[in-house]
Amino acid sequence: MYRQKYLFLLPGLLVLVAIILFPLLFTIRVSFSSWDVYNPGLNWIGGDNFTRLLADSRYWQALVRLSLLTLATVTLQYVLGFGLALLVWRDIAARRLFRVLFLVPMMTTPVVMSVIWRTIFHESLGPLNPILDALGIGAQPWLSQAGHALAAVMIVEIWQWTPFMFLMLLAGLLSLPQEPYLAARIDGAGPIRTFLSVTFPMMAAISTGAILIRLIEASKLMETIYVLTSGGPGTSTETTSYYIYIRGMRDFQIGYSAALSLTYLVVMIVSLTVIAKALTRMVVKD
């Protein structure tokens, strides 16, 4: 009789198989095939795709670039998000208005925002360069030089996702107990020491959560690159996801892109697990 309970698990199990297990197993199988525009199908070629990707410097460069971009943008998002959250945490004028304003970027569709930013960064038609000119800084080759293009991608990412950090950290700040602050004032801690010794450590758990979520999300960076730079100039802003997209959807090298995807998945799982454990160890000391 009790076996019937497993029947109720069946719908969930089917959905799980359909959306996670089957695509994953199929991708594994495809990665061992030569499926491309000339040879469609699951022709077994062993580990040839994996041997090829080991020598694919463009892929590894994209992975390193993605890692650096992710670390830099998430760090800046955290610092800015924390700063903004601290700003509206205490009683300041128009606090509610600021709270809503700071969230606007996150409420906008990423692709739409990227199109708007592309217009802003446009070197001859965009509004940014005339402003920089007027300020005496001079027009910048935002999307036509490698360094500038990377900076442009970072600006858009930070602008788009700092509100997420802001929201998470503000929620954390608002949930902090007030008593330790009273104790800190009596115990001789000024505002800066109170932040370093009370606020920051008490925010460690929520900070870890927010950073991990953003690291996972940022490691999938794709649409901003697609709309803003298309990986260019050259391959200077190409990230792993974008490179896999090019190999799979533009060059139609399905077998090879499946091998790239699987390798990327393993690298991400391993590195994010290591980061998560390191961050968690910092938070839970006892």
Binding site: L182, A183, I186, D187, G188, V198, D286
Partner: protein, 354 residues
């Protein structure tokens, strides 16, 4: 010496402190006694710098404190709530104020460990406060306050949220520790007259943000200067009876005619209030009173009575079960009553009895 002069504080339209002036002497334990919202916590918060008074001054040995932020004032404070740093170990909690004062880490930890030993927490140094019982958490807060060796130590009803047994035990331990600390000005806030009278070298009675009386505990208890002071310092509550003295005789509302012999003294004509403590009522007497409530506490019985429409409280040093609604005969020893004039001020009699 910590001197407070004409301190006033209004918050959200409520007068928390009204022209408060007190002096705290080094090595003295002063108890602030008052009911809830009497101004005890407001006064302590003003001393600590957690609120800015609207008027008046606070000075330590002649140095003005009002311009100093709380973290620059040499004050330690323990509050009603068990306030600790939840993210730090017990040892680091106690070492925290020392580190803020620039004490080297190793020395701070040694001193913290020593203080934790004195409050009986030597075996809990590595735990977080959240994993301790309420009494232990408050010991951590007390250790953190004491380890600073600040010249001013503020204790704002530190044991009020603990159970009776623990409260008694911790209070005795604290007195032992404080006795060893010489030169510290200890200010202890309490709503419990018995506690205040036991603990302090000096008692300051507060009512509605004002100081109504200050002095040695025996003096304050024996001769409360006003009705307000008598109410604050009496537990169980003092019985207040209206007395009318005329040329042709005197009468106490509810009791009838009384003679100067009943009162133990002659009074000029006028309206008075008699303050009669609960232990000055006795079972067995000419007045018939109805029992409204009986509270047995330990070896004592507090009985709430209604006598001719007046509510009275009687304290017996035995356990007595009076049936609710029963009529019992009681006697009132009016010679022991404090007499207050129409303005509520004590009319002295020379006698100073308990």
């Amino acid at each position: 010496m910590l001197e407070i002069r004409s301190l006033s504080l209004v918050q959200d339209g409520d007068t928390c402190l009204d022209d408060v002036s007190i002096r705290f002497e080094p090595g003295q334990l002063t108890t602030l006694l008052g009911r809830t919202l009497a101004g005890k916590t407001s006064l302590m918060r003003a001393i600590a710098g957690l609120v800015q008074p609207d008027a008046g001054s606070i000075a330590l040995d002649g140095t003005d404190w009002l311009g100093l932020p709380p973290w620059r004032r040499p004050v330690a404070m323990v509050t009603q709530q068990f306030i600790n740093y939840p993210h730090l170990s017990v040892l680091d909690n106690v070492a925290f104020p020392l580190l803020r004062r620039g004490v080297a880490r190793d020395e701070a930890r040694d001193r913290a460990r020593d203080m934790l030993g004195r409050v009986g927490l030597a075996d809990f140094t590595d735990r977080r406060p959240g994993r301790l019982s309420g009494g232990q958490q408050q010991r951590v807060a007390i250790a953190r306050a004491l380890v600073k060796k600040a010249p001013v130590l503020l204790l704002d009803e530190p044991f009020v949220n603990l159970d009776y047994k623990l409260r008694e035990g911790l209070r005795e331990e604290l007195i032992d520790i404080l006795t060893a600390e010489t030169g510290t000005m200890v200010v202890y806030a309490s709503t419990d007259p018995r506690e205040a009278l036991q603990m302090g070298d000096r008692v300051v009675l507060l009512s509605e943000g004002r100081v109504v009386q200050a002095g040695p505990p025996r003096t304050v208890y024996g001769a409360p200067v006003s009705v307000a002071a008598a109410q604050v310092v009496s537990d169980p509550p003092i019985n207040l009876l209206e007395l009318d003295v005329a040329e042709e005789g005197a009468e106490v509302t509810g009791l009838g005619a009384v003679t100067p012999a009943d009162l133990g003294r002659a009074l000029p004509p006028g309206r008075y209030t008699l303050g009669l403590r609960a232990h000055d009522l006795r079972l067995g007497g000419p007045h018939a009173a109805h029992v409204a409530l009986t509270e047995v506490s330990g070896s004592e019985t507090v009985t709430h009575l209604v006598l001719a429409g007046q509510n009275l409280v009687m304290l017996e040093r035995t356990v007595t079960e009076h049936a609710l609604g029963a009529t019992i005969g009681i006697g009132l020893d009016l010679t022991r009553a404090r007499v207050f004039d129409a303005t509520g001020t004590l009319v002295p009699n020379g006698a100073d009895h308990g």
